[in-house]
């Protein structure tokens, strides 16, 4: 796995969103702080109405908060003009939606081309880029199909390719696996992990799907607009799954470094591969 230089891409300070006033005031997001670096996957979980989507909508420069600050790649966006926010969405943020939200009359290829066109990328360069992304996501055979003719998994892959078209630093994904069956959901998880770990993107996922914990570096639990619990996860060096860093977890302390594993099997396999003596675990 390539080691990428870590850089804070998303920084949120005291973010608050209040709807209504007086008796009907609702604090959808209440004084939230958050930091996410390049190559990192943050999973935000919580019950419906906990403020997850509001948080990600504000982070996506689509909704103005009532208070607090949001920095994307060092640029403060709360006080930004509409034009600056549009530019930010074009160049620094990519969106992946639960309902895919592909443009129904355009082909997969053209859907990936849309953000490039909006950003003013010349057609020839854009086409090359879009084709490259479709190849990367194994969609080159489906490039000329309209969304109606694609499976759910293919639609979500096109959606991820589209999110990456302008090479943004931050990917915001809202329930990316919710409309997919188990196998296709896992495919999408694998791709999102690849987007973070191989491409160095910061991926923030809002979801109810517990399976996504397997790919997250950090899991936040939201309730009533607040983060109730935050847990940093470690990557199993054998299978790549994310695992809780707890005392009772499967782990090895070797040459000054602690490794966490999802299972005893992974731990043994890793030890054998790396010739770690049994005395270390």
């Amino acid at each position: 796995m390539k080691e990428l230089e870590k850089k804070v891409v998303l920084k949120i300070e005291g973010l608050t969103k209040v709807y209504g006033v007086g008796d009907i005031e609702v604090r959808a997001v209440d004084n939230i702080d958050l930091e996410a670096s390049s190559g990192e996957i943050i999973l935000i979980m919580g019950p419906s109405g906990s403020g997850k989507t509001t948080l990600v909508t504000m982070a996506g420069a689509l909704l103005k908060p009532t208070g607090g600050k949001i920095f994307i790649d060092g640029e403060e966006i709360v006080g930004a003009s509409e034009k600056q926010r549009i530019n930010l969405r074009r160049h620094k943020i990519g969106f992946v939606f639960q309902a895919f939200n592909l443009l129904s009359n355009l082909t997969a290829f053209e859907n990936v081309l849309v953000p490039l066109g909006l950003a003013g990328v010349p057609r020839a360069i854009g086409s090359k880029k879009a084709q490259g992304l479709l190849n990367y996501f194994d969609l080159s055979q489906r490039a000329d199909f309209i969304p109606e003719k694609l499976s759910g998994g293919e639609k979500q892959r096109v959606s991820i390719a589209r999110a990456l078209a302008n090479d943004p630093k931050l990917i915001l994904a809202d329930e990316p696996t919710a409309n997919l069956d188990s196998r296709r959901g896992k495919d999408v998880m694998r791709l999102l992990r690849s987007v973070a770990k191989n491409m160095g993107k910061t991926v923030v996922i809002v979801s109810h799907d517990q399976r996504l914990i397997d790919i997250a570096d950090k899991v936040l639990w939201m309730e009533d607009g607040r983060i109730k619990n935050s847990e940093t996860l470690a990557t199993d060096p054998n299978c790549g799954n994310q695992v809780e860093m707890k005392e009772h977890s499967h782990k090895i302390d070797y040459r000054g470094k602690r490794y966490y594993f999802c299972s005893e099997g992974c731990k043994r396999e890793f030890a054998e591969k790396n010739s770690i003596p049994k005395s270390y675990f």
């Binding site: 689509l62 549009i86 939606f97 309902a99 355009l106 081309l113 849309v114 302008n166």
Partner: protein
């Protein structure tokens, strides 16, 4: 950038067809009205403009041959003949009459002319003879078609049976057609002995102005050049039909705007989420407006082309069945209708554009 507008239009073929059909219908209506107007205008003076004369001498206050009467005593003709510079004076006897042919009310303008000097006779003979004799008449082709008359048929005009001996072209004035008889026959039928409706005066080279001024000195008489007289006859069409045509064109434009506007608006409402997605992906309002304008303009342009093609087809077919359907399509009218189609498209975009401006991109997160 990909033409999202074009894809949206082609993606909803039925709606696209309705939109294009609406514009095409509107374009067709406007073009046919304008072509009819031009056709009538030309036809209203086609015969007159071919009458071989320099001056039309009329009773003062008489402007055109269809809506105002002109009666001149023969003494006027004698006075004109002695004016210096006059080369030739011919009588023009004629007036609109109404009678029954095959039990159908028929209007025609009977012209009596000197068959030896046929300056005001039939101009383009189709069949038969252009010189009717006693008890004979030459009719226009349109009248012949309308009343299914052929050479050898008889027409009863005020108790006089006249035999159709010639069929001519170019004497259709759309409201009525000119029919031609000998001058003496006209005087008898129309009871105009001793009276002439107009004098047709030819002048020697360079004498037009002076002759005209001399004629005007005769009491109760006016003299108009051929082109002035033609223009006055055309003006009648303008005065009668232009207001009606303007109203019809306005209605057609409104129909076009309504059809494009409604179809583009419903498409915009249906695609609100997708427009929201484009906004979320970094699309500015300007870029979204462009999509709407493109959709609207494409509908307008294709509608214009379809409408124009349909118009030419109809203008080619209809005259076979409706002979008085006389049209003339000018390039400038095509340009005007093209401009109207573009205008309709732009106006029709207004409401959808307002709708787009109000779309909240955050809706993309709502499942």
């Amino acid at each position: 950038m990909i033409s999202i507008a074009l894809r949206n239009l082609l993606g909803e073929k039925t709606r696209f067809a309705i939109s294009v059909g609406g514009v095409a219908f509107s374009v067709m209506l406007i073009l046919i009205i304008l072509s009819l107007y031009q056709g009538w205008k030309i036809k209203s003076s086609e015969y007159i403009s071919h009458v071989d004369t320099d001056l039309w001498v009329t009773q003062s206050g008489s402007a055109d041959i269809s809506n105002s009467a002109s009666y001149l005593p023969e003494s006027v003709g004698k006075k004109i003949q002695v004016i210096d510079g006059v080369a030739e004076v011919n009588k023009f006897i004629g007036r609109p009459v109404n009678f029954k042919i095959k039990n159908q009310d028929t209007g025609t303008y009977i012209v009596g002319f000197d068959t030896d000097q046929p300056v005001s006779g039939p101009q383009h003979l189709v069949s038969g003879t252009a010189k009717p004799g006693d008890g004979e008449i030459v009719i226009d082709k349109v009248l012949a078609q309308k009343r299914k008359l052929e050479l050898g048929d008889y027409i009863d005009v005020f108790g006089e049976k006249l035999k159709v001996v010639g069929i001519a072209k170019g004497a259709n004035m759309f409201l009525f057609q000119f029919s031609f008889v000998k001058a003496e026959e006209a005087e008898r039928i129309l009871h105009t002995q001793g009276i002439t409706n107009y004098y047709l005066v030819k002048v020697k080279n360079g004498e037009l102005s002076s002759v005209r001024n001399e004629i005007k000195k005769i009491a109760g008489v006016d003299a108009l050049t051929s082109s002035e007289f033609v223009e006055k006859n055309r003006r009648v069409i303008d005065e009668v039909f232009l207001p009606i045509i303007t109203v019809l064109v306005l209605i057609s434009v409104l129909v076009g705007i309504a059809v494009i506007g409604l179809t583009i608006y419903t498409a915009t409402v249906e695609k609100s989420r997708e427009f929201g997605v484009i906004k979320a992906l970094g699309g500015s309002n300007g870029q979204l407006y462009r999509i709407i304008f493109e959709q609207s303009l494409l509908s307008g342009l294709i509608g214009f082309l379809v409408g124009t093609a349909a118009t030419y087809l109809l203008l080619w077919i209809i005259p076979y069945y409706v002979p008085v359907f006389v049209t003339y399509t000018r390039g400038v009218d095509l340009l005007l209708v093209f401009g109207l189609a573009i205008f309709m498209s732009l106006v029709a975009s207004y409401i959808p554009v307002r709708r787009i401006a109000s779309i909240d991109p955050a809706l993309v997160f709502k499942s």
